[in-house]
């Protein structure tokens, strides 16, 4: 086994001394995220520039059995890139090239460090008729990390999880081989991550970097209409919300449906804000869609159960901003910058029960709450966030927020939900409930791909 200094020298040899660090301040920074998981520092941080460098690092780590944690911008908030067993964090942000946009096949190929903000700007400038599904995380969130955690975005109502929109992968396996997944494995085109081949992307998406390091990713792009609008409907009965979601989805006119629930500011108190986003290339197209959506909810409007909020362009501007800035604002409601949410993926019929639980838990633990729900895939499921903000300088408040989150996660599981971007404790909850044969399969796959268990250890560990 190499000594620490030999390992450092080896890493320097691969990426250059400017891109390796074992300094305390770097290790401090890379040992934590913005959520509630306890910190744990890495031994080294490296910033590779090429897939070849990643391969060399992986081969080195595999030989030396040193843990490796690939990291985008570290925004998952559930500690997924906190190096639980130390080792090397690979910060992928130097791999920041947008390699190809195929306008006719509507996809883009990016390196692992490309962020959603950069891609958005790039498309607006060079390919204004194309767009991708932006999540509501800060714009520095990387496209690869968001796909790896099965993120959702502005087009999820129509096209499912952002990971469903992946159209190909290039992966460095834990043993160092560079491997292509999807159409790009037999063709120069990146139009499909699987079909008509066996879909191997599932070996990497959702695994939180425990089965390999994605170095390139193909992402489907979608038509970008000239105009965009939001209709804000208000309801005050949680029991109606699932049907409202279904009715909106049934129109097939809505690109995104978001439901907000929170007690503050006061205008939100006591009502659910249901935001239906539409796009069009002309006023006529937008107006047609507005009419269809009105028609879908007219019955509820006439019964006075659902209203349309009159919104000025100034009011709409923040609602239409992509990504939404409201999440970041909520993160500091309690002052002190602490924010975390449990976001189970669940059938939409669970909305009333989840809202009741959120209010109950917030009262029980005296924490400030909010919830944002996003409809995914034509009503197939929703992401329901139990969100709590807290002051990082207030350890008692942090402890209460953690208890509130844990209780909500357990509740969501009991109700048939599946925890999203689960932290290591939630992963255990999930695996405890999982079909035993599924667990065996996961274990076999993990052992096959990562025989030395170097990849992001602590996560998805099947015992």
């Amino acid at each position: 086994m190499m000594t620490t200094s030999t390992l450092y020298d080896s890493l320097v040899k691969i990426v250059g001394k400017d891109f390796v660090s074992n300094q305390k301040e770097e290790r401090y920074f890379y040992g934590r995220d913005g959520g509630l998981m306890p910190p744990h520092e890495p031994d080294f941080v490296v910033m590779p520039k090429t897939a070849e460098e990643v391969q060399e690092i992986v081969k080195l780590a595999n030989n030396e059995k040193v843990p490796l944690v690939p990291k985008g911008s570290g925004l998952a908030l559930t500690g997924l890139v906190i190096p639980q067993r130390g080792g090397v964090v690979l910060d992928m942000k130097r791999m920041d090239r947008i390699l190809e946009v195929n306008e006719k096949a509507r996809y883009v190929v990016v390196e692992a460090g490309v962020t959603h903000g950069v891609l958005k700007s790039y498309l607006q400038k060079h390919h204004p008729r194309l767009r991708h599904s932006l999540p509501d995380s800060p714009p520095v969130a990387t496209i690869v990390a968001n796909a790896v955690i099965h993120g959702q975005g502005r087009l999820s109502q129509q096209h499912g999880f952002n990971s469903d929109m992946v159209s190909g992968l290039e992966v460095v396996l834990p043993t160092g081989e560079l491997c292509r997944i999807g159409s790009c494995s037999v063709s120069s085109y990146w139009f499909s991550k699987g079909p008509p081949l066996p879909d191997l992307s599932g070996l990497f998406l959702g695994w939180f970097g425990t089965t390999g390091i994605i170095t390139r990713l193909g992402l489907k792009l979608y038509p970008c209409k000239k105009m965009r609008d939001v209709m804000v409907f208000l309801a005050d009965r949680a029991e109606l919300v699932p049907d409202i979601m279904l009715r909106l989805s049934h129109t097939e006119m809505v690109e995104d449906v978001i439901i907000s629930a929170q007690p503050l500011p006061l205008r939100f108190k006591g009502t659910f804000w249901i935001m239906a986003y539409i796009t069009g290339d002309s006023d006529e197209e937008l107006e047609f869609k507005r009419k269809m959506i009105w028609g879908a909810l007219w019955e509820y409007f006439e019964s006075r159960d659902v209203g349309l909020l009159s919104t000025s362009p100034q009011m709409k501007a923040p609602l239409l901003s992509m990504p939404s800035k409201d999440t970041a604002k909520f993160a500091d409601v309690a002052k002190g910058g602490g924010f975390q949410y449990a976001g189970p993926i669940t059938p939409i019929e669970k909305f009333p029960a989840f809202i009741r639980k959120l209010e109950e838990v917030a009262t029980k633990y005296n924490v400030f709450y909010a919830s944002t729900t996003r409809l995914i895939g034509a009503g197939h499921c929703m992401m329901f966030s139990f969100s709590f903000s807290f002051n990082r300088a207030n350890t008692d408040e942090m402890a209460r927020a953690k208890k509130a989150l844990d209780e909500c996660s357990k509740f969501a599981l009991e109700e048939g939900g599946v925890l999203w971007k689960a932290d290591i404790y939630e992963q255990k909850l999930l695996m405890d409930k999982m079909d035993p044969n599924t667990l065996v399969l996961m274990k076999k796959l993990k052992q096959l791909l990562d025989p030395n268990g170097i990849m992001n250890p602590g996560n998805w560990e099947v015992r």
């Binding site: 208000l234 005050d236 006591g270 659910f272 409007f301 349309l308 009159s310 100034q314």
Partner: protein, 302 residues
């Protein structure tokens, strides 16, 4: 049919006997549980403007500007027109006039909150309150007396204030020589005695108030309340008729008097080639200053 009943403020203006028919209708609606708008919309409005002890005051003097609960006045109140008074202002839920609840058949909310609002104004030592919105002025001159609420300060409509200021600045006025369509707002019906100031001010500014069909007693409101209450068809129809009327009579500007009307109509009149402008800004143009309240450019981001 009861739930579909909807009326506007206009009957207040038409009643020659001062019997406040609109206020009476609103009270009956509430008594009978009629919802003029969907329940969640009413809930949102009641919660949004609830006094919770948060407000902003400037260097309040005996004569003070009321921004009510409308942040747009922070943009509009500037320049020579407001020399000597700009810093004397009040803003927030604690000073919110509450007249909006007439739209939602919630007279009880007004009766519950307005006495405290009046007291809040009084406690600031204000003797003259320059109301920057018809709704505030109408609340203190019409609604409060109708509900038996004493108003221990003098409400002054900002049109009267502007008229006086323009006279003082008369040497600086350069006639604008433009045709304008005036957009009366719903709460102008609570204070029709003020309407002559529109003509007086336009006279000083050298602008022509086009004699269109939908002005003065026959005015159409911005209609956005109808959208929340009745759905899009009626609101769209009213707005179209109103704006077509402005176009037909050759208006270059649409002069708006109310931030809510601005939000509803400004971006729509622009599409018909008419410039939206708030009355304060129109006055500002005539004395060589720039329009302060403009349309947001970031209407929709794709």
């Amino acid at each position: 049919m009861r739930t579909l009943l909807f009326t506007c403020y206009a009957c207040e203006e038409y009643c020659p006997f001062g019997n406040h028919p609109f206020y009476l209708i609103v009270e009956r609606q509430e008594e009978k549980g009629i919802l003029p708008a969907p329940r969640p919309i009413i809930t949102m409005w009641i919660n949004q403007c609830q006094p919770i002890g948060r407000f902003m005051v400037g260097k309040v003097a005996e004569r003070t500007l009321s921004y009510c609960f409308l942040a747009q006045f922070n943009t509009l109140v500037k320049g020579k027109l407001f020399d000597g008074i700009a810093s004397s202002s009040i803003f927030g839920q604690e000073f919110f006039c509450n007249a909006v609840y007439l739209h939602y058949a919630k007279a009880s909310v007004i009766k519950g909150r307005l006495p405290k609002i009046v007291e809040n104004v009084k406690n600031q030592g204000i003797k003259e309150l320059v109301c920057l919105h018809d709704e505030c002025y109408g609340t203190f001159t019409s609604l409060a007396p109708a509900y038996g609420i004493d108003v221990p300060f003098k409400p002054i409509h900002y049109y009267e204030f502007l008229y006086d200021r323009l006279k003082a600045l008369n040497d600086e006025i350069k006639p604008l020589n433009v045709k304008v369509a005036y957009q009366r707002n719903c709460s102008a019906r609570l204070c029709p005695e003020i309407d002559h100031y529109v003509d007086d001010i336009f006279g000083l500014l050298g602008v022509e108030r086009v004699k269109r069909e939908y002005d003065r007693e026959n005015a159409l409101c911005c209609a956005e309340i109808f959208r929340m209450a009745k759905g899009p068809a009626l609101a769209d129809d009213i707005q179209k008729r109103n704006i077509d009327d402005m176009v037909k009579f050759g208006a270059k500007y649409c002069v708006l008097n109310c931030p809510a009307c601005w939000d509803s109509l400004a971006h729509k009149v622009v599409r018909q080639g008419i410039k939206p402008i708030h009355m304060i800004d129109l006055c500002r143009l005539a004395i060589g200053e720039e329009q302060a309240l403009n349309l947001s450019e970031s209407v929709a981001e794709v």
